[in-house]
């Protein structure tokens, strides 16, 4: 598909981005920055300045026109020191949707704001806690008086901290995508917190009037599916960063903490379990780079969905294994909110459940692949 020159160029570009991101992460991110539940608009701006918001956007939208595989190392580097800002939800997912529906003035405008770091968007697509199929109950009804949105969406990140929402709705059997401001009349947020303390909300739309200009698409089913897959791989990449971060902290602890006059890392039973965690880390790295490559090379919707589920099934599972064991290896101190390792567990709980957990993606993988395999 690409020749060697392209490949070399791509690798060089990836390296540039990753270096910049790593430097940013070292400067701006830390577990301490994770603790407050609120998003820093300044850091959000900073992420935009790195080009992260624009990576997946095409050239004509002011973006870099990169692919998901290019984003993986950057997200990994940001996940490792813990990132409070909802880069995957509000940039990767929202951005992919906007790019997908781009021939539209409003979408182009939103994209421009997004690329500049001036927009914090939420994507309201999910209506139950399950990784559901295509049926959408939220409706966009249109008549001579205009357009009206009604329904309920759950698990919308970043809740009321969002400037506005991209909402999927059933419009005469097709999937529409509309832009709704969070303070529009008829919009009600039930705010909550994710496990890691981030903002999230259930949004109720009670006959919300929608301007025609804010209807970004009336046939967005494929774009939505594909954007969710991109976000799923992106979330998996952030999980890989979490795994690496938790591993570093835990291995350091094993190398230094003493009990019974011995460094606890010298106890063979912990050593062997550490080896198993390392295997989980390496499997995760392999799984995600393969999924990204498969996704890019995919010819069919089924292949894309398979790639995304493969990544999320492995990463959601591996990250939980690693962070749970990290707590156990830390002993009591790991269970207090005072030690950073707990933040890794909480962030992992959040990201591993979001967009479908391991069991849900394993089930989807089975559906997608099984009749060939068994």
């Amino acid at each position: 598909m690409t020749n060697n020159n392209d490949n070399a160029e791509r690798r060089a570009q990836q390296q540039l981005i990753t270096d910049a991101v790593t430097a940013f992460a070292r400067r701006e991110l830390s577990p301490a920055a994770m603790r407050p539940g609120t998003i820093s608009r300044k850091r959000w701006q900073g992420l935009a300045e790195l080009g992260l918001m624009a990576m997946l956007l095409p050239d004509e939208a002011g973006g870099l026109g990169l692919k998901i595989g290019d984003l993986v190392p950057a997200l990994e580097a940001l996940g490792k020191p813990l990132l409070r800002e909802p880069l995957v939800a509000s940039s990767v997912l929202a951005g992919s949707l906007l790019v997908g529906v781009a021939r539209n003035a409003k979408a182009a405008d939103l994209l421009e704001q997004l690329a500049a770091g001036a927009l914090l968007a939420g994507v309201a697509w999910q209506e139950t806690y399950r990784l559901e199929g295509d049926h959408i109950k939220t409706t966009l009804a249109s008549d001579a008086h205009g357009h009206v949105l009604s329904g309920r969406k759950v698990l919308v990140v970043p809740g009321s901290e969002a400037d506005g929402l991209l909402v999927s709705a059933n419009a005469d059997g097709k999937t529409a995508l509309v832009w709704v401001s969070v303070d529009a009349e008829g919009v009600r947020a039930e705010n909550g917190r994710t496990a890691d303390g981030g903002a999230v909300a259930t949004f109720h739309f009670d006959n919300v009037k929608i301007d025609a200009a804010d209807i970004l698409s009336t046939d967005a089913a494929d774009v939505l599916a594909q954007s969710l897959q991109v976000a799923t791989i992106a979330a998996s990449a952030e999980l890989l960063g979490l795994i690496r971060g938790a591993m570093d902290i835990t291995m350091d602890y094993l190398r230094t903490r003493k009990q019974f006059n011995k460094t606890i890392g010298s106890f063979q039973s912990l050593q062997h379990r550490a080896a198993d965690l390392f295997i989980q880390q390496e499997l995760s790295a392999v799984a995600i780079s393969r999924a990204a490559a498969d996704f890019e090379a995919a010819a069919t919707a089924q292949e894309r969905a398979t790639a995304a589920s493969r990544a999320k099934a492995r990463l959601s599972s591996a990250a939980l294994i690693v962070t749970k064991e990290a707590i156990q290896m830390h002993g009591g101190i790991g269970y207090t909110d005072e030690h950073d390792i707990g933040l890794y567990l909480k962030r992992t709980l959040t990201l591993s459940a979001w967009l479908g957990n391991a069991a849900e993606h394993r089930a989807r993988f089975a559906e997608l692949t099984m009749d060939e395999a068994a």
Binding site: K324, T336, E338, W354
Partner: protein, 387 residues
């Protein structure tokens, strides 16, 4: 306080069960039922008083000391009904740890001084064993008590003291002889928390509760007679408590109520009809059943007056790890709701999908990590050589 002591043990099991069930239904506050995490004293005070007034606060203590004196069969019924009704634990270190210990090993004066106030709830006990640098390696503790006239002067720091912020008294291990080998030279001390020089700092846990505290001792003067057993022989005193603690920590209670929560969530999510879930639930059900069987085997040993051997460690391992597996499955079937802090609204009702998961985390750590328990089994039960 006058309490009418009945001969519960003479009742038929069925009659006793009905009585207990009725008692909980009548007296236990509705809003405190099925509490996912540990309740503070302020919330449980009313219930403590109710139990106390009816003479039901210490079901396992002998009647002569003010307990119900239940035999193990009746005690099991009591616990089962407590569990079935979703009755939360009161702050019970005095009732389940200090009381039985003093009854066994305390001086007559100590029994007289402390037991009645545990029964009334006037005095609430907390534990002072672990230290920041002596977590699982308890014997390397460094908090020291130096004799000065008729008082010990205590300096040092304890940690992981459960709900110490609510405690009026602490039972603790202190080093009274620095020359002796690790496990020797440790004494078992009873301390009034109001004594000057004590600072309590609650620690917030992952689940957001202030369940544990750090406690600092700065020249704290404790009367000499507050030692239980002999000076420098506190390790033996504590050890008796430890194997009892393992039995207690290995109780099927946690796993059983977690399984009930799992069943509830499976109905809320519709997973109760999913063959994959049913297969895993069946496996966990059998794991809990066999945990129950193990527990009864060890309680029968206690009932028959046998000393608990080191093999009781298997109970703590299996109990807490079964509990943990159930917590994992709750998170798994919660799907997207597994990312939410606190309760999520399902069609059939609210459910906190992470509380069991969080509660399972410390269970495999406290009371001697499960690694320590496995060391005990391999060394003291299977007689595998030390490294």
């Amino acid at each position: 306080m006058t309490v009418e002591h009945q001969n519960w043990n003479a009742m038929s099991d069925d009659a006793f069960r009905a009585l207990v069930r009725n008692f909980f239904a009548t007296h236990y506050p509705e809003h405190l039922r099925y509490s996912p995490s540990r309740r503070r004293l302020s919330e449980m005070r009313g219930w403590y008083d109710t139990l106390s007034e009816h003479g039901w606060i210490a079901p396992a203590w002998p009647a002569e000391y003010g307990g119900m004196g239940l035999d193990p069969g009746k005690l099991v019924i009591f616990i089962e009904e407590q569990e079935a009704h979703g009755v939360a634990r009161v702050p019970d270190h005095g009732i389940i740890m200090v009381g039985p210990l003093l009854i066994q090993q305390g001086s007559p004066e100590q029994k007289k001084r402390y037991l009645p106030k545990i029964l009334t709830g006037e005095e609430i006990w907390c534990q002072g064993y672990s230290e920041p640098n002596a977590g699982s390696d308890l014997a390397s503790l460094r908090t020291e008590a130096v004799l000065d006239g008729d008082h010990f002067v205590v300096n040092g720091q304890k940690t992981w003291s459960t709900l110490a912020q609510d405690g009026t008294h602490m039972f603790m291990l202190v080093r009274t002889n620095k020359e002796a080998r690790k496990q020797e030279g440790i004494s078992f001390l009873l301390v009034d928390m109001k004594t000057p020089g004590i600072t309590v700092r609650p620690m917030r846990t992952l689940s957001g509760h202030e369940e544990f505290c750090e406690v600092f001792f700065d020249d704290v003067r404790v009367p000499k007679e507050n030692i239980v057993g002999e000076i420098d022989k506190g390790w033996g005193v504590a050890k008796a408590l430890l194997s009892f603690e393992r039995l207690f920590l290995g109780s099927p209670k946690l796993a059983q109520s977690a399984l009930a929560r799992l069943a509830t969530l499976s109905v809320l999510t519709g997973r109760d009809r999913d063959p994959i879930f049913r297969d895993r639930f069946a496996a966990l059900q059998m794991d809990v059943d066999d945990l129950n069987g193990l527990y009864r085997r060890f309680t029968a040993q206690v009932r028959d007056g046998e000393r608990l051997g080191p093999d009781v460690s298997i109970l703590k391992i299996w109990g807490t790890e079964t509990f943990s597996r159930i917590g994992d499955l709750i998170v798994e079937i919660a799907g997207g709701a597994g990312m939410m802090d606190g309760p999520s609204a399902f069609d059939g009702g609210n459910f906190d999908t992470l509380s069991t998961f969080y509660n399972a985390r410390p269970s495999t750590i406290y009371g001697g990590t499960n690694e320590i328990q496995r060391n005990i089994i391999s060394g003291n039960v299977l007689n595998l050589p030390s490294a």
